[in-house]
Symmetry: C2
């Protein structure tokens, strides 16, 4: 293996909040030899996910922070190119936490799932058939439990998770209302993702009035990816018995000092609403249940997804910032060169 | 009936926030004649409840505001002294929404329950065997679902609801931690209500450190009656999978402008915690399930309760303010003179 060159994106300083390109460097390194039980993955596509902000920061979170000097933690899909593990064969495609690098050595513990070589693109395993779709699936169906005829509102509604939430809501017979930024994403929500209404938070003269018009009977389910002013507006329109999935806080630049906002206790109380923090990793044992159903919907055309592919690892250092600025249209991926 | 004089506490102006004595006046009026289906209740005790702030205010709430000029809405217990209703006999004791007045005419629709003439005081039907106890019962057991060995923390822990929550938590095999104000209430929590620890928020030098010491494994269940800085501190100590019942917002002086505070989305998310607004009225069909169990615990001595009885209706106008200042020890009642 020593003749193979790895290319790696290194976290070289500890950011607070969204890490810009200056927090990363690119280096090359030889690929280590495999020990017994290990196998070598050649990454094809690297994922860019909101959770990477948390992994880079040194704040209470789901996972320990990425050590400064290490390869940036990330999801990826790749092909097994060498193996000392009988369970993983050369030529298999796999998705998992392989890091922002060209080559990754695995013992199987960081594998999320194997990818069937079928009609569907392996990149989908990082998006609608990966954690994004699984997040949408369980975060909406399991936590919010939407009923036919109810109104479901989604923030970052054109994003990798949000677009899937809206389409699952429609499949469940709900009215789906999206909140996103800019006319291009509004058009995507309405024309490609099937939302009944979409609100442009960047250009709304009165977001409260727009939510009110789109949700005349109130909001039964809110899939919250943003927190911040968008959530504050949605909370003014909760229906009795509303369910809120707290899936992300994209609008908060940092949380080392906890940001201030309206206290929501009274809105929860008056509406007997339920607000639940959600982490897809808790559903680990049930991933394939979601993937199998999502694949059916993708094949039938009931779920559509977009990918935004950056060509080459040189784009990686600025990619998290790009994601938080909302400049991507569709699941943000990096094609490994 | 026209020879009987009613004495009434009238809401004579619309308050914002906690209504002081100046928002009420006391008058006398003749008692109307009964129509078919009606009966006359002579109130024995009037209740003073945190919810009365909401009833007096003109803000979104569970119930329409009490019209200015009307008798203040309130729970009470009384005896039926005349009846044109075959279902309600003279001599029966009843609890319900009879208002802050000496006499109330009912058609049965405002009856909460009949009170058995047994060994237990009828005043308990306004406290531990009334909505306070029922609130504690369902708000803790149904919403938080505490498990043996878990830590349950309660704000306003010496109050009519809170003291009952703590004792039910102990019966469930939990560690019960109270938060209350002042040494007298701390002593009540520890010596009478069986809390394992009690934190004096008025005199704590560092409430965070005290919560941390009392809840080394974090807070599994939080029964929140206060919102505000007390809740902010508790939220710093949530355990994974914590459940929060939002039952009251006693620490907020008013909510016509929504008060600001730390955004809690991230704490809910990281801990996969669930926060649920609770209103006891939703459990209307199950009240007697709670009352029957609570009466067993009261008789066995497993649940103790305190009453703070003000002697005479002249005390009523200032009673809500007194409650919100936390000056009562035990369920606040007014004995009708």
């Amino acid at each position: 293996m020593s003749n193979m060159e790895n290319r790696r994106i290194i976290l070289n300083a500890r950011p607070v909040g969204v890490p810009g390109a200056e927090f990363f460097s690119i280096d090359t390194a030889p690929v280590d030899d495999l020990s017994a039980g290990q196998f070598l993955i050649k990454n094809m596509y690297l994922s860019v996910d909101p959770a990477m902000r948390g992994w880079a920061n040194d704040a209470p979170n789901y996972s320990p922070p990425v050590p400064v000097g290490d390869v940036m933690r990330a999801f990826a899909v790749g092909e097994i190119v060498a193996s000392e593990n009988l369970d993983y064969a050369v030529g298999e495609l796999v998705a998992g936490v392989f890091g922002w690098q060209r080559f990754a050595i695995s013992d199987g513990s960081n594998i999320m799932r194997r990818i069937a070589c079928d009609d569907l693109s392996p990149t989908l395993a990082l998006g609608v058939l990966g954690l994004n779709g699984i997040t949408a699936y369980f975060g909406l169906l399991d936590v919010c439990n939407p009923q036919s005829g109810e109104t479901v509102i989604v923030s970052t509604s054109a994003g990798a998770v949000g677009s899937c939430v809206g389409q699952i809501a429609k499949i469940q017979g709900c009215k789906a209302v999206g909140i996103t930024g800019g006319p291009e994403k509004i058009a995507l929500c309405l024309n490609e993702f099937g939302y009944d209404a979409a609100i442009d938070y960047k250009n709304a003269s009165d977001i409260n009035a727009e939510i009110s018009a789109a949700c005349p009977d109130g909001v039964n389910c809110y899939f919250d990816n943003t927190c911040g002013p968008i959530s504050d507006a949605v909370f003014e329109h909760l229906a009795l018995g509303a369910r809120i999935t707290v899936c992300g806080t994209a609008s908060l630049q940092e949380w080392e000092t906890i940001p201030q906002g309206p206290r929501i206790h009274r809105q929860l109380m008056v509406n007997r609403a339920r607000m639940t923090g959600f982490l897809v990793l808790d559903y680990n044992a049930r991933y394939m249940e979601a993937v199998d159903q999502l694949a059916i919907w993708v094949r039938s055309g009931q779920i559509s997804s977009r990918e935004h592919i950056l060509d080459g690892m040189d784009h990686a250092p600025g990619a998290i910032e790009m994601l938080y600025r909302g400049e991507n249209t569709g699941k943000l991926l990096i094609k490994v060169d």
